[in-house]
């Protein structure tokens, strides 16, 4: 009897132990969950760090802003864009668009014209490109480095005519945090004097800009069309008459500061202009730009890591992360959104090729027509003006980085005009020489 009772007691004892330990674990889990959910929440603010002005090393900034830095480092990744256009892999664009070789004949873009890579590669790529000789103007350094801040402070626009090789020796960092952020306040800032001056001429003081405006200005300070003033090589944005291709063309028609052309095409003999990535100009009139959606809204969306919100500094095709980029406003799923962007870009690509090829043919026809003995010089000159304009319209789209997405309707209109002008150029050249090319 006693033995039985003892056995029962032991068994009871063991059951109690099991129940107690299970209960203990449950209480512990409960406490951890409650603590993490209600007591210790992720920070909603970022502590401002003391980074001295003149510190350009992104790794130093990264110590205080680790999530932003980690996403900036992703700019080193080279990957194609999910839409099939753009992306950050370096390849010669002429392999996909051979008309580039004809349209830029006689100027450096026919020698080397690659798809652009991420911000951390800006210095490496400018040193590698065959477009720039060691004696080239120092103005090329303007958008490639944070060290511009000191260079401009020291020399003003004087740096623009210093040979680039001399400047490259002074320059250490590519496009980094300091290009867009004030280290003391982390507020956004612009450092490119050409942008500040162009905005001034448009009656805008960038120092008074709101944070929302700055979220596009920091990008627009470089992702824009520009030219070098022949005397002194200063960088100027041609924005005085507006941002549209016809407005910038009209601005150049006035030979600003004696600037007439970028080069003379060897086949057609036309005075040509080269467009450079008018991303800001294209975006600003598009449906996103007009609705107040800034560059950063899509290209630097809010991300979340372990409950900590941060702004992505991986500046790339938003289609690589359409969820945070598009879904702030659009409710459709990722496949639908990607399909929409692909449709726009495919349409633009088709017309961009047609425009580029028609322009290429026009160069050839004007070249042949001008060989004819009795060709009318007045008509040939008219054809040359037409092709200058046709190529400007094509290039305004081709040199832009969104394959039309930044402003689909405007871009398709621009390409349509380009194709028409190129055909007019061909017809005018044929009329001049009585030929039928």
């Amino acid at each position: 009897m006693d033995a039985d009772r003892e056995k029962e007691g032991l068994e009871l004892n063991r059951n109690t132990k099991i129940i107690t330990s299970l209960l203990g674990i449950a209480v512990l889990v409960f406490c951890v969950v409650m603590l993490r959910v209600f007591m210790i929440q992720p920070a909603t603010t970022v502590k401002l760090a003391v980074i001295p002005e003149g510190e350009y090393d992104p790794a130093v900034w990264g110590k205080y802003y680790p999530l932003e830095y980690k996403s900036y480092q992703k700019n080193l990744e080279m990957a194609p864009s999910p839409t099939g256009f753009g992306g950050s892999e370096k390849y010669q664009k002429s392999t996909k668009e051979p008309e580039i070789l004809i349209n830029f004949k006689g100027m450096p873009f026919s020698k080397d014209y690659t798809e652009d890579r991420g911000h951390p590669y800006s210095l490496e790529d400018i040193k590698e490109t065959k477009r720039i000789q060691p004696t080239a103007a120092g103005s090329c350094i303007t958008c490639k480095t944070a060290n511009l801040i000191d260079i401009y402070k020291e020399m003003g626009w004087g740096y623009a005519k210093v040979p680039i090789q001399e400047l490259l020796a002074k320059v250490k960092y590519p496009i980094v945090c300091a290009n867009c952020h004030d280290p003391k306040t982390m507020n956004l800032r612009v450092i490119n004097p050409a942008f500040i001056e162009a905005m001034e001429r448009r009656g805008i003081d960038v120092k008074k800009a709101t944070r929302e405006e700055m979220r596009s200005y920091v990008c627009g300070q470089c992702h824009a069309e520009y030219y070098f003033v022949p005397e002194g090589k200063r960088v100027v944005f041609p924005w005085d008459k507006g941002f549209l291709p016809e407005q910038t063309y009209a601005y150049y028609a006035g030979n600003p500061s004696g600037f007439e052309q970028d080069w003379i095409h060897p086949d057609s003999g036309a005075k040509m202009l080269k467009a450079q990535h008018p991303d800001y100009e294209t975006w600003i009139g598009g449906v996103h730009g007009r609705s107040g959606v800034s560059c950063a809204d899509c290209h630097m969306p809010f991300m979340m890591e372990k409950g900590q919100k941060y702004s992505s500094h991986w500046v790339t095709s938003p289609m690589k992360h359409s969820e945070p980029s598009c879904k702030q406003c659009h409710t459709q799923d990722a496949t639908w959104l990607l399909d929409r962007v692909k449709t726009i870009q495919n349409n633009v690509w088709q017309l961009q090729r047609t425009a580029g090829q028609t322009v290429a043919k026009a160069h050839e026809v004007i070249g042949k027509a001008s060989q004819a003995a009795k060709a009318s010089k007045a008509d040939l000159d008219k054809a040359r003006v037409l092709i200058r304009k046709a190529q400007w319209y094509w290039d305004f789209v081709a040199a832009e980085n969104s394959m039309g997405f930044h402003n689909p309707d405007q871009v398709l209109n621009t390409l349509g005009i380009s194709i028409d002008l190129a055909h007019q150029a061909i017809a005018t050249a044929n009329r001049a020489a009585g030929t039928q090319y």
Partner: protein
């Protein structure tokens, strides 16, 4: 504990004890149900900060989250849904596994739709919108939660 002693009590006392215990349990559960249905409670989760502040910017701010987000069923259906959704939230919140924008599932969208109609039926009963397939949120997506930057951004201090 010696449970035997509990059953040695007189039936009347036992009944009294039972009623008291039942009342306490019911009070506790009801209290929990209502407290955990208050917008303040929903907003105590870090991931809900943005939607909470955007909800406060709309003319539906007089209605609690649960008015729209709990299914329009009897109490059992509501409690079961709440327990399931709450557990889901608890797991995500504990592991900090949430995105800045939390997309709505098709199931919750269905629940929302029915709740819109629950109040607004008389407005739409003679229109094609009264059909079950009509999706109110497709057009009226900012009625429950406003737009624009809400609380919980990245502020530098």
């Amino acid at each position: 504990m010696d449970w035997q002693r509990l059953f040695n009590l007189s039936p009347l006392k036992l009944l009294g004890l039972g009623v008291a215990a039942g009342a306490v349990i019911v009070l506790l559960l009801t209290g929990t149900y209502y407290a955990s249905g208050s917008p303040k409670f929903c907003a105590s989760c870090h991931s809900m900060e943005l939607v909470y502040s955007r909800w406060q910017a709309t003319n539906h701010k007089q209605f609690a989250c649960t008015e729209c987000h709990l299914p329009d069923t009897n109490i059992v259906g509501k409690v079961v849904y709440k327990a399931r959704a709450g557990l889901n939230d608890l797991v995500h919140e504990t592991f900090r596994a949430y995105t800045p924008i939390i997309p709505i599932s098709s199931n919750s969208e269905e629940i929302l739709k029915r709740n819109c109609v629950r109040c607004h039926y008389s407005t739409i009963e003679n229109t094609p919108m009264a059909r079950a397939s009509a999706n109110c949120l497709k057009c009226h997506r900012y009625l429950g939660h406003g737009r624009g930057p809400g609380k919980g951004g990245i502020r530098v201090e």
